[in-house]
């Protein structure tokens, strides 16, 4: 009886430790790290492997530390109350130690097997997410995810630096694309989870500014995003394959946000459309980055 129980406990611990890293979110972060590597050049398998491992551990470490810092509000929100700390499966200190340990390992891996700039950028993303977003902005301003969006925009810089050893205008555009993609993506979710955020005391834009103003800003951020995705074509980073993909993908996103706005203006429910926009925005970013990599190799 003892052996199977211990095995179950170990597998449950492993599951919880993996859950702390938020693997589903990291899959998109990894895509936005790896695709730019193919835009920047032709990376070797070892650079891809070490950047992927280091990127996963760094983002996972940031997510674990974030769960430690948000342990006082995670039990309030339906979407976070099953996390390992609020559900009592892991001690808060264990989570903090785990997060710091894997982020430290990531820094060493990236610095040793890739290059120092890559390690510094990844660590910069970690600090920005933990200290600037989680500790400072998240609970103090409705613009939390606007500036905080920079944390999620570090991965393309990491991938680019891993291949070229530098950061240039093209890589900054990849950063800006994710930065300006974050508000329409996150506010679609915030519109749907207003009660959760309100109960937890997180001042998300729909709770503070109201739905109409948030939806208006989602619209303008989407238009800005489409303009930004086009600009790298004008200085030769991407060609026609990418341009068509960016316009089609952006057009679909804009149509969704416009639909939310139209329904809101008519006083009708936009909830199913907001869900679709939220889910599509994830697909949008993934396909846009795939289009970037494909464009450079066709």
């Amino acid at each position: 009886m003892t052996a199977p129980t211990a095995a179950v406990r170990e597998s449950s611990l492993a599951r919880d430790l993996i859950a702390l890293t938020k693997p589903r979110i990291i899959s998109l972060l990894l895509l936005t790290t790896l695709a730019p590597m193919y835009v920047a050049g032709t990376p070797s398998w070892s650079v891809i492997l070490w950047t992927g491992i280091g990127g996963y551990l760094m983002a996972g470490g940031a997510n674990a530390v974030n769960m430690y810092l948000d342990r006082d509000i995670d039990h309030v929100m339906a979407r976070t109350k099953l996390r390992p700390i609020p559900s009592g499966r892991l001690a808060a200190r264990t989570v903090l130690a785990f997060g710091i340990a894997i982020a430290t390992a990531a820094t060493w891996i990236l610095g040793h097997f890739v290059n120092v700039l890559t390690a510094a950028l990844a660590l910069g993303g970690f600090y920005f997410y933990v200290f600037v977003y989680t500790r400072w902005l998240k609970r103090t301003t409705p613009q939390n995810i606007v500036l905080g969006g920079a944390a999620g925009a570090f991965p393309p810089l990491v991938g680019w630096a891993a291949v070229t050893g530098r950061v240039d205008l093209a890589s900054l555009y990849l950063f800006l694309i994710i930065f300006y993609w974050t508000p329409p993506h996150f506010w679609a979710l915030a519109l749907l989870k207003q009660r959760d955020y309100g109960e937890a005391g997180v001042p998300m834009a729909p709770n503070i500014w109201g739905e109409r103003e948030t939806i208006d800003q989602m619209l303008w951020y989407t238009v800005l995003l489409i303009g930004l995705t086009v600009l790298p074509v004008t200085f030769g980073v991407f060609g026609l394959t990418y341009l068509i993909s960016a316009l089609v993908l952006g057009g679909i996103l804009l149509r969704g946000v416009w639909r939310i706005r139209a329904l809101d203006a008519q006083g009708e429910s936009w909830i199913p459309v907001a869900w679709r926009v939220y889910k599509y925005s994830l697909l949008y970013l993934a396909l846009l980055f795939v289009a970037m990599a494909v464009d450079r190799h066709v």
């Binding site: 800006l176 834009a205 303009g227 086009v230 004008t234 200085f235």
Partner: protein, 85 residues
Amino acid sequence: MAPALPALFWLAIVLVVASQVMILRSTVRAMRAAESAQARRGIEWAYAIVPAVALVVALAATWQESTAHRTRLDLEARANQTVAP
């Protein structure tokens, strides 16, 4: 695609700048409606203006890079014409 690049550049710039202006306008409107304290408004305004300033810097660098790219394409086209019999 080279002849279309200047038009594409200016069209994108207009979209980006106009949207950024609308975002700032909307943020000011939202701050007033939220009736936040004066000091809080100053911080919120700073949060809104920082990305806008960074965007202007990026657009200026893009203008330089786009101009240089078009010049390179022109030179290549002329060189090809010279080489061609």
